[in-house]
């Protein structure tokens, strides 16, 4: 089996280089403002560092409990039957960029999982379980809880609307034929 050449390639190196360049220019033009910015940056990093360690731990626990391959298998086996619940749970627990899941979801759609269920899964992904501690730190428990509840409701509603839309679309097409 071929090995993935760079599974954890550094992201944002060019962006960081540009930011460093901006700091160098600022140091040359206004060193006081550059120093202020550096102190501020260090302050933010000190604030988020402990939370990031919790994020790393939660992420590892989720991957251990329900790894991506197992999640895909669950979707394939249970998708058409218990679709809505699986879509919500899989969406909340899934990780990584959305486009990585496109091929699997496209296959599932071909295999009979309805578009409504896929739409629900897509929106449930807005809940980032491992990042909840960071969200709570920035926006508070009340905001985070309310947002999560509304996202879940919106995910299910979108799925139902898509389902209805497709039924209507199919009925109209059948009538016109």
């Amino acid at each position: 089996m071929k090995k993935n050449p760079q599974p954890h390639k550094l992201k944002g190196v060019r962006f960081l280089a540009l930011v460093i360049l901006a700091y160098v220019i600022l140091f040359m033009t206004n060193s006081q403002q550059a120093q202020q910015s550096l102190v501020r940056a260090l302050g933010i990093i000190t604030q988020i560092l402990p939370i990031i360690s919790v994020v790393v731990l939660i992420n590892a626990l989720i991957n251990w409990w329900l790894p991506a391959k197992k999640m895909a298998l669950l979707f394939k086996e249970q998708g058409p039957k218990r679709g809505w619940g699986i879509a919500v749970i899989a969406g909340v627990l899934s990780h990584g960029p959305m486009y990585l899941w496109y091929p699997m979801l496209a296959d599932l759609r071909k295999g009979g999982v309805t578009e409504g269920i896929i739409v629900t899964y897509f929106y449930a992904r807005a809940i980032k379980l491992p990042l909840l501690p960071l969200m709570i730190d920035y926006f508070g428990v009340t905001f985070s809880t309310i947002l999560v509840v509304y996202i879940l409701i919106a995910a299910l509603l979108q799925g139902l609307v898509m389902q209805r839309w497709n039924q209507h679309y199919a009925a109209s097409s059948a009538r016109s034929n």
């Binding site: 944002g12 790894p67 959305m98 486009y99 807005a126 980032k128 926006f139």
Partner: protein, 148 residues
């Protein structure tokens, strides 16, 4: 344990290692964003930043949604930026829409989505996501306001 089970059931230590490596790979991006936020805080006065937003909940929600949909990257970055915007007096409507649009909409990913699911599905899904993002952001801000 069968070979299939072994491949789909990793150990906790390997998951922890992967999670650490995954986070480590994002360190340049996170440091870059934090440094940029700090530089913006120093150079752009809060009143100027808030000036981009109108104070009208609906328009601010719309601005937040568009900004979030255009931006791309790890959601951690959206929390950092959203938190700073909020600290500078930008409304919760705009910030909620921004962080939500960041993860639910992705203009950059649209061609890939069309290729995988087709234009009709992509159009309907994104329209539904835009409506949901606006609604959720407004409802969340209203509810938080009521509970305060």
């Amino acid at each position: 344990m069968t070979p299939t089970e072994t491949t789909i059931s990793p150990t906790l230590s390997s998951c922890l290692k992967n999670s650490l490596l995954s986070f480590a790979s994002m360190i340049p991006m996170i440091i870059g964003v934090v440094a940029l936020v700090a530089i913006l805080q120093t150079l752009v006065p809060p009143e100027k930043l808030v000036g981009f937003f109108t104070g009208n909940p609906f328009i601010d929600t719309l601005i937040g949604t568009v900004c979030g949909a255009i931006a791309a990257g790890n959601p951690i970055v959206s929390y950092l930026l959203g938190g700073e915007l909020l600290a500078h007096g930008v409304s919760l409507y705009a910030v909620s829409a921004f962080i939500l649009a960041w993860v639910t909409l992705g203009f950059i990913q649209l061609p890939m989505e069309v290729a995988a699911f087709g234009a009709r599905f992509t159009l309907v899904r994104n329209l539904l996501a835009i409506i949901a993002t606006l609604t959720v952001a407004i409802l969340t801000s209203l509810t938080v306001g009521l509970l305060k």
